[in-house]
């Protein structure tokens, strides 16, 4: 029983990180119907930026989010203005063109990192990196707990913005029906730019936090990107609460699989990749789609 | 199992549900071989949904579709085409990067006839001339006018060598002269041995062409029979009256 609680708590902690990582992707997809493959590169770049700040100024990675997130927000808007804006809009869903374009951006970002910081593995060491707190008989690392706290704060913040501010409502409107939103006076172009900025900022937060937890190289990001896809597909691709649920589900599956089955840790990534394919194929509407299916069966006339 | 003399298509209690929406509610009718049979009704009545269920774009939630005695439910679209039932699309779907000739060739190569080589080329030419697209054979489909695109939809479907041709609003967007041409084409197609199922909004075209028709409203069948009787049915008139103000302004 104790082990169960420990694993569950670990899943919860991981879910927070996953959710933050995935929200950036979800916002961009929702507003622009673009699958942002550069998300991985942005996370990676933010991880390096955080490391650089830590290396040169001794800045704590969590504190540096205050600098990194806004900086990347601006970077995101800049990316939108220079590159993304020119993509043709396709009402029939995401286009191959946008996918490949952002893939190209990802490659360029990777090279940027190689050029500036080299290919060696980096990691950040802080006074508390090795500390852990005992809860319920398990030891939970302080960085993990901090990551969870920051994630929750950022997600609550995002939710507040989405629900209480004009900007947030405009974003939700464009996500649900772009034409109707424009007819209601929303400047979809500006909203898209801001949404891309927000998406990038969240990618950066994810990257900063990851840098506090794991070692990284410029190539890092791909497995997290695939996990993020898995999460937003699970969550139903258009629902923000769905992302949180998807993050929980993936985190739970991964943690329970490694705790209770014999699957070696190195194969863990294969779990999320397989889950991604399975969900894409078997439940394209994600969990909300499954829920609707169940709902219909249970409440059938 | 030999096809029953006369009855070529039997739709029995077909229903289609999309989540909470019941698009078709237990629709039943029969089509006789060689008929021109129309499906009419106000917008949103479920007519295109019905076609999609017939050809296998998606399966009906309930009910059965028997074509020449064989159950079609559960078959894929391409399997249904191989058996001789094909549809056109209300919103045309040409292969824009291909020439008109190649568009038709897809139907010739992959439809029921599966012709190859010289026979295939002959059939392409034959279909193009029957639909008056011969002079556009080498044009890229992307530059055709709407009238030509509608004829291309028919041409492609015809190319598959069907026994039953389902036409979905082929006269939508056409001017009066083009409508006359289209009506003549439909008659010619039936006279050549095909059975025609058509969804159509132009009431005079429907009255002029159809042997029999069925009227749908909100997914339910509300009338069936010869055009003269069905179009005078008070229920039908009432159903359209709700739409009439929209049509008057169109």
């Amino acid at each position: 029983m104790e082990k169960f609680v420990v694993v569950a708590l670990n899943s919860l902690l991981t879910a927070g990180l996953y959710a933050t990582m995935s929200y950036g992707l979800a916002v961009i997809y929702g507003v622009m119907r673009i699958i942002n493959l550069a998300h991985a590169g942005l996370m990676m770049l933010a991880a390096y930026a955080t490391w650089a700040l830590n290396d040169r100024f001794g800045l704590d990675p969590f504190l540096s989010i205050v600098i990194v997130a806004p900086a990347f927000f601006l970077l995101g808007m800049g990316l939108y203005a220079t590159v993304i804006r020119w993509l043709p809009r396709s009402s029939a869903g995401p286009s191959m063109q946008s996918l490949l374009l952002l893939f190209g951006v990802w490659l360029v970002l990777q090279n940027l990192a190689y050029a500036i910081w080299g290919g060696d593995t980096q990691s950040i060491l802080t006074p508390y990196t090795m500390e852990s707190i005992p809860i319920f008989g398990g030891r939970f690392g302080v960085p993990q707990i901090l990551v969870f706290v920051v994630s929750i704060l950022s997600l609550v913040g995002l939710n507040l913005v989405l629900r209480r501010t004009y900007l947030g409502k405009a974003i939700r409107a464009v996500t649900q029906n772009r034409d109707a939103a424009m007819l209601s006076g929303v400047n979809a172009g500006q909203i898209a730019a801001v949404a891309f900025g927000i998406g990038t900022a969240f990618a950066a937060m994810g990257g900063s936090m990851l840098s506090a937890l794991y070692a990284f190289t410029p190539d890092f990001g791909r497995s997290f990107l695939l996990k993020a896809f898995c999460i937003i597909v699970l969550g139903g691709m258009e629902s923000f609460t769905g992302v949180a649920v998807g993050a929980l589900v993936l985190a739970f599956i991964e943690n329970f699989a490694s705790a209770y089955t014999a699957i070696p840790v190195s194969y863990q990534d294969a779990i999320s990749f397989t889950l991604l394919v399975v969900v894409l194929v078997a439940a394209p509407g994600g969990l909300p789609g499954l829920w609707r299916l169940l709902d219909r069966r249970v409440v059938a006339r | 199992m030999p096809a029953e003399e006369g009855k070529i298509l039997a739709v029995s209690s077909v229903s289609k549900r999309f989540g909470g929406l019941l698009a078709l509610d237990s629709v039943s009718f029969e089509v006789q071989r060689g008929e021109i049979f129309s499906v009419i009704g106000p917008n949103g009545a479920g007519k295109t949904t019905l076609f999609s269920c017939l050809v296998g774009t998606y399966p009906p939630t309930a009910g059965s579709v028997r074509f020449r005695g064989e159950e079609l439910k559960g078959l894929r679209n391409d399997q249904v085409v191989a058996r001789g039932l094909v549809r056109t699309h209300q919103i045309v779907k040409p292969f824009r990067d291909m020439t008109v000739s190649d568009n038709v060739r897809v139907g010739v190569l992959y439809g029921r006839l599966r012709l190859r080589g010289a026979k295939a080329r002959e059939r392409v030419d034959e279909v193009l001339s029957r639909t008056q697209l011969g002079h556009r054979a080498q044009a890229k489909a992307g530059i055709l006018s709407i009238g030509e695109l509608k004829r291309l939809e028919i041409a492609r479907a015809l190319a598959t060598g069907p026994e039953v041709l389902c036409l979905d609003e082929v006269m939508g967007g056409l001017n009066p002269a083009e409508i006359q041409q289209a009506m003549a084409l439909v008659r010619a197609l039936r006279d050549s041995g095909l059975t025609i199922l058509m969804i159509e909004h132009h009431v005079h075209a429907v009255a002029g062409l159809s042997d029999r028709l069925v009227v749908l409203n909100f997914g339910k069948k509300i009338a069936e029979g010869r055009p003269a009787e069905a179009l005078r049915d008070p229920a039908v008139v009432a159903a359209y009256l709700g739409d009439e103000t929209k049509e008057a302004r169109a």
Partner: protein
């Protein structure tokens, strides 16, 4: 042969080039032959991929899996005593089988979702291959001694390239190619005309994966040593995809142009340490530029330039109204 040339005079440069390739060992230096081998290798990968990716429009970012299957099949069987050449069809068959296993679930997905799924599959394969014992894990495997014969390797790859080009061109010109094109442009309309879309995609996938696997097997024979890093690498999947995209998907010449470009790039990159570290810039930059300015690649750009040239206007056919453009 001359009949074919008379009907398609555009083939002449290709035929001459093929002759050049086949006669090269008689006069060319080893260095140049190595480069030609590389070029032929890339031509096979790009052209085969294009069957599914360009003609059918299903962009797969997981093709390194098939290179790896071919390479590992050859090495493992050769080490068990097989003649390397006999291992090639086995590798091809295994790759085709795997392509069906992957394709059955993933071909239900459309466009970008299919592409993402292939990234996932490719990664899963790499992770698993690095972990397995009998594939030598991440340190790789070596071919048995005495299996290296450069002239034979050279001819094998050149012949494979020519066969691949011939096969894909033949498929493209006939019914199969038209079906794939229809699937690419409008899969629902294609199915509505009787095209069995899933079966066609699976067939295209199987044929192209088999060709890629044979190339992978020849790679193993030529380099004598393989590892997950060399044959299951995501970078390789990337290169395979970039060649037809930059050259021009959906045409026969596009992948060849792309293959020539990338093998040239590779030579330049290997020669200069500065450029070698920048290959991602170059690949990424190319992808960005192509997607923004000319999604149809170099071939598309060429066609656009040709269309701009002034032409004599022919009068419209009698009876047809000239339409406003």
């Amino acid at each position: 042969m001359t009949g074919l040339l008379r009907r398609h005079p555009a083939l002449l440069p290709g035929v001459l080039f093929a002759a050049f390739l086949l006669l090269a060992p008689l006069f060319a230096q080893r260095g140049m032959l190595n480069d030609l081998w590389n070029m032929a290798f890339f031509v096979v990968l790009a052209t085969a991929w294009n069957l599914l990716g360009g003609f059918a429009g299903q962009v797969s970012l997981g093709y390194s899996a098939f290179v790896g299957i071919g390479a590992y099949t050859t090495v493992l069987l050769a080490n068990a005593g097989w003649s390397p050449w006999l291992t090639l069809p086995i590798g091809a068959a295994l790759a085709a089988a795997f392509s069906v296993v992957v394709g059955l679930p993933t071909f239900r997905l459309r466009g970008p979702y299919f592409t993402i799924a292939t990234i996932g599959v490719g990664e899963a394969v790499r992770v698993i291959a690095s972990g397995l014992e009998f594939t030598g894990g991440s340190s790789g495997l070596r071919m048995p001694a005495g299996t290296f014969d450069f002239n034979a390797n050279y001819y094998a790859m050149v012949v494979l390239a020519l066969l691949t080009l011939a096969l894909v061109a033949w498929l493209q010109r006939h019914a199969f190619g038209l079906g794939l094109d229809a699937i690419r442009q409008d899969i629902d309309a294609a199915e509505a005309l009787g095209v069995p879309s899933t079966r066609a995609k699976l067939q295209a996938h199987a044929i192209s994966s088999a060709l890629v696997a044979i190339a992978g097997g020849l790679f193993a024979v030529n380099f004598q040593f393989i590892s997950p890093g060399s044959v299951f690498d995501f970078r390789l999947s990337l290169t395979i995809v970039l060649m037809p995209i930059v050259g021009g998907m959906g045409t026969m010449t596009g992948p060849v142009v792309g293959a020539l470009l990338f093998s040239y790039l590779q030579i330049k990159l290997l020669a200069s340490p500065v450029l070698r570290d920048s290959y991602l810039f170059i690949y990424g930059g190319l992808l960005i530029v192509v997607m923004l300015f000319e999604p149809k690649g170099i071939v598309g750009l060429w066609e656009r330039l040709i269309a701009l040239r002034p032409r004599r206007q022919a009068p419209p056919p009698v009876g047809e109204v000239r339409r406003a453009s």
